[in-house]
């Protein structure tokens, strides 16, 4: 009971924080910043406590709260933690204070409104992860758009209006079709079983014909694939990332994109297993195209934010590949990869923000030899670059390696039996993504850190200042997390193991009408 209460506090704390900001004085920016940071740290502490208390040997939901909300429609306020969301909740809570601290110097305009938006998006993201009721999930899922829309639109770069409207309209289009699918799904469930419910646990019992499953999966997948984003629905992402202020980019890359892959894992695939089986080759191909195409695009960018933005497309392709492999290692690798990408891409965006605050340009060609100018910065940058490339001992290695292992493990028997050689081909192509990843990240680091010294606003008399204590703390925490996940992946993987098994069970069992229950 008490633990469930703590989870509710974790969820609603940011909302309370936003309310606090509403009544706090407008002109005292430092007070606003500290208040926000304090609330976020409390949230992280409570989330960590829940993480520690989470029992890896118990299948299903823990710390569950379930209250009737709209009784007539079978809508419940139902939240809880399970192996699907525990790591993502932890990561969201972890990035919260870092985003806030990173915004101390990045945001100087409308400070109070900004932190209110950070609170609101934190609330919505946390809610989408812990929601166990489709209606509740949809509400959080959509609510997320509003603060991000304002964040890019108010504090963004030059083309911010274009970027933010594109972001909103893109994602809202997916959502509206998903809404139609949600209504249809719940209605069909009521038709076939007589139960009217939005609870995930009830919805996975729906038995639908293959064509209905395919349509519904298409609607869900459109919404999720836009969020991930998967090629060819990715075009909003570079614009949004480039125009967003640093904290916005961190939230976007760190958590928001995971919503898409989490949605596939928790809802899209388990709800429509037969359609998923049918479309697995197509989806897998798209995932691999995302990996390779994203990497190729990252290779030719000269805007440093764009490099990381396109690398996100590539890295999330691995997550999709892992989820579709239906091998235990692949699924668990996908979850680790989600967390790892959240940490690494979030950290890289923070670092880009830090250099941007000093030099006011994001053009790669304007920089060189930063290793001599900013040694501490460069060390952290190198750590994150190598984590992004997937160097062993970092989190990026754990994620990508397990995903590829899963992909091969799934593909090999099919190849040997002669049923299909496509998975093997895809797995091999996916491996080239790792090489390409090394190529673009190392090119980036090479130009950025080594070579002749140059940086805008740098001169002998006014050298660039290296990282401040605040910045060192932020990056130090991220680096610790990256290594922890790389060196000791056992504990987090144990927490997701039962969920990965449940997921594989749900997706690989046919659920057409008339089958065995």
């Amino acid at each position: 009971m008490f633990d469930a209460g703590v989870l509710n506090v974790v969820l609603f704390l940011p909302l309370a924080g936003a309310a606090l900001l509403l009544v706090s004085p407008a002109e005292r920016n430092d007070f606003t910043r500290r208040l926000t940071l304090a609330v976020m740290i409390v949230q992280l502490a409570l989330a960590a406590w829940l993480y520690a208390r989470f029992d890896a040997n118990v299948p299903g939901l823990q710390f569950e709260t379930r209250l009737p909300w709209i009784a007539g429609w079978g809508v419940n306020y139902q939240i809880g933690l399970d192996g699907y969301n525990i790591l993502l909740v932890m990561m969201t809570a972890f990035l919260g204070p870092l985003v806030v601290a990173g915004a101390f110097s990045a945001i100087t305009k409308d400070v109070k409104l900004f932190y209110a938006m950070v609170f609101l998006i934190q609330f919505a993201m946390m809610g989408a992860f812990v929601a166990q009721d489709l209606f509740l999930f949809y509400i959080f899922w959509e609510t997320m758009l509003i603060p991000m829309f304002l964040m890019i639109g108010i504090w963004g770069g030059e083309r911010r209006i274009y970027a933010t409207i594109k972001f909103f309209l893109y994602t809202a289009f997916g959502s509206i079709l998903m809404l139609a699918a949600v209504i249809y799904l719940v209605y069909s469930l009521q038709q076939t079983t007589g139960v009217i419910s939005f609870a995930f646990a009830d919805l996975v019992k729906a038995r639908l014909p293959l064509d209905v499953q395919s349509w519904l999966l298409a609607a869900f997948a459109l919404s999720f694939a836009i969020k991930v984003p998967m090629v060819p629905l990715h075009t909003w992402l570079p614009d949004a990332h480039v125009e967003a202020p640093t904290p916005g980019s961190v939230i976007l890359a760190g958590v928001l994109l995971k919503m898409g892959t989490y949605g596939f894992m928790k809802l899209g695939f388990p709800l429509f297993p037969d359609a998923t089986q049918l479309f697995t080759p197509a989806l897998m191909t798209l995932a691999v195209i995302s990996i390779v195409y994203g990497a190729c695009l990252a290779l030719v960018q000269d805007d440093i934010k764009k490099i990381i933005a396109y690398s996100s497309i590539s890295h999330l392709g691995y997550v999709m590949l892992g989820l579709l492999s239906l091998e235990l290692v692949g699924i668990q690798g996908a979850v680790i990869q989600m967390v790892s990408h959240g940490l690494v891409a979030g950290g890289l965006f923070l670092m880009v923000g830090m250099i941007y605050e000093r030099c006011h340009t994001r053009e790669l060609a304007a920089y060189g030899g930063l290793a001599k100018l900013l040694p501490v910065y460069s060390v952290f940058f190198m750590i994150l670059t190598l984590a992004s490339v997937g160097l062993p001992t970092t989190s990026g290695f754990t994620g990508e390696f397990l995903v590829l292992l899963g992909a091969f493990k799934a593909a090999w028997p099919q190849y040997m039996l002669g049923t299909s050689s496509l998975p093997l081909v895809l797995a091999v192509v996916a491996v080239t993504g790792v090489v390409l990843g090394a190529l673009y990240m190392l090119r980036f680091a090479l130009t950025f850190l080594f070579g002749a010294v140059k940086a805008p606003h740098h001169s002998e008399e006014h050298p660039l200042a290296d990282l401040s204590g605040r910045e060192k703390t932020i990056l130090g925490l991220i680096a610790v997390a990256v290594f922890a996940l790389g060196l000791f992946p056992n504990e987090p993987m144990r927490k997701t193991e039962l969920a990965a098994k449940a997921y594989r069970q749900l997706v690989s069992t046919p659920r057409l009408p008339g089958g065995q229950p």
Partner: protein, 461 residues
């Protein structure tokens, strides 16, 4: 005990009538103009409370059998519409300079109440006219501006056309069935003969005209723009609510079949799409809201596609969410010396820095009207489309949802102007006066309640 039933069942109407009489006396006395506002508020509020009280007591009666009857769900809807009139009164402090304003408004509300309980075509017609006639004058009251005369005339002529169409339909219904009851309409819907069908179509078209469904919508943008802001708010919320609730009552238990089904699906669908597209290019908030209300009328008529049992629930909840947030936007609108300048979208640029509260309120209203969660507009839209889909009209539901997607852009545009644009050089922009502030607080509080406990309200209908 007929007389007792007449007193009780019509209590909301009686209270309004009492208020009207009192207001007329105040006007004749020529004093206590400030008291007029209080009197109007008290009597509308009392009428709303009376209706709510009767509804909660589960009261139902038919004091004039076959013409006028009340039941708990209908009374709750009546209470809701009357309660929505309270913010309108609060925000129209300046309109009270014209002594006839409150008299007209309360008279119109009397018509609104009558329509919600009409059992026969003549009563419905009476209600419709008592509601509409004062509104024509209310539009004209903004005579400080040249467009208002034109707007009022357009509204009058097209409103007259709607009346004529309705009467034609009603008389044809009487001619075929020999009955004045509104049940004849339901029978005519199911009929395969030409005459009753024609009659039903005429009645439907009259209501399409009143609710501004494409292609009968052309009067709305002009009338909305010509009227003063509170009157626009009144037209966009209360009049629309009254018309739609009357339509639901008229349709009763009817199950729609082809070709009526197509008529009631396609034209609202076109309204949704066209209203949302046209709203993108409007220069003023009032015109934009006019087009948005055309789209919303489309969603509301969509509710008729659903099963009869859920119609009142869906429409009433939608009207509540839509009305509250629409009124919120109008109440929070900053004041200006020139009413015409007041709502130019360009003047909203940078509003957040001048008046954060107003910008936040208008922003929330826009998001809710766009149907974005967690605001009440979402649950309302969900309810309607859920019913449409449950009735098996999946294609129409999906098309309607895609149509509603088209509407997101222009609502976002308002937010973009208020939060993301450089400040507009606005001369003498006054703060909204205290009463309008109270109105927006009341609306936002009610909206917050509706979005946190939608189930509680849905269960009421």
């Amino acid at each position: 005990m007929i007389s007792h039933a007449v007193l009780t069942a019509m209590l909301p109407e009686h209270l309004l009538l009492l208020g009207i009489v009192l207001l007329v006396f105040l006007e004749i006395a020529g004093r206590w103009q400030r008291a007029a506002l209080a009197v109007a508020l008290v009597f509308v509020g009392a009428a709303a409370m009376a209706a709510a009280r009767l509804s909660l007591d589960g009261y139902s009666a038919a004091p004039f059998a076959g013409h006028f009857s009340v039941d708990p769900a209908g009374l709750l809807a009546k209470a809701m519409v009357l309660a929505l009139a309270l913010p309108v009164l609060l925000m129209s402090r300046d309109e009270f300079a014209d002594g006839e304003f409150p008299v007209l408004l309360l008279s119109s509300l009397y018509g609104v109440c009558l329509m919600q309980s009409a059992d026969s075509m003549p009563t419905l017609f009476l209600g419709l006219e008592i509601m509409s006639l004062p509104v024509y004058v209310l539009v004209l009251l903004a005579y400080r501006r040249p467009q208002s005369a034109e707007a009022a005339l357009k509204y009058l002529v097209l409103g007259g056309t709607a009346t004529a169409t309705f009467l034609m339909g009603a008389s044809l219904l009487y001619g075929t069935s020999g009955s004045m009851s509104i049940d004849t309409f339901t029978q005519a819907l199911a009929s395969v003969d030409t005459m009753p069908r024609t009659a039903a179509v005429l009645v439907i078209l009259a209501f399409f005209l009143k609710a501004a469904i494409v292609p009968f919508h052309a009067w709305a943008p002009d009338a909305y723009e010509g009227a003063s802001v509170p009157v626009t708010a009144y037209m966009a919320t209360i009049v629309k609510a009254a018309v739609l609730l009357a339509v639901v009552r008229l349709f009763g238990p009817a199950k729609l079949a082809s070709p009526m089904l197509e008529l009631l699906a396609v034209l609202p669908l076109v309204s949704i799409v066209w209203g949302n597209l046209a709203a993108m290019r409007q220069p003023s908030l009032r015109r934009m809201i006019a087009y948005s209300s055309i789209a919303h009328a489309g969603y509301l008529f969509y509710a008729l596609l659903g099963d009869a049992a859920g119609r009142l629930q869906a429409v009433a909840f939608y009207l509540l969410a839509y009305g509250l947030l629409n009124l919120l936007a109008f109440a929070a609108l900053p004041g200006a010396t020139d009413d015409r300048e007041r709502d130019l979208l360009d003047n909203l640029k940078g509003l957040f820095h001048r008046s954060p509260f107003a910008a936040l309120m208008i922003g929330i209203a826009m998001l809710s009207l766009a149907g974005i969660p967690p605001f009440p507009g979402f649950v309302a839209k969900f309810l309607i489309f859920k019913n449409v889909m449950a009735a098996g009209h999946t294609t129409y539901a999906v098309l309607g949802l895609v149509g509603s997607y088209l509407g997101i852009y222009f609502y976002l545009r308002v937010i973009q102007f208020m939060f993301m644009s450089a400040d507009a050089p606005v001369a003498d922009e006054g703060k909204a006066h205290g009463l309008a502030f109270a109105a927006s607080l009341a609306c936002i509080a009610a909206a917050a309640f509706v979005s946190v406990f939608p189930g509680w309200i849905i269960a009421g209908f």
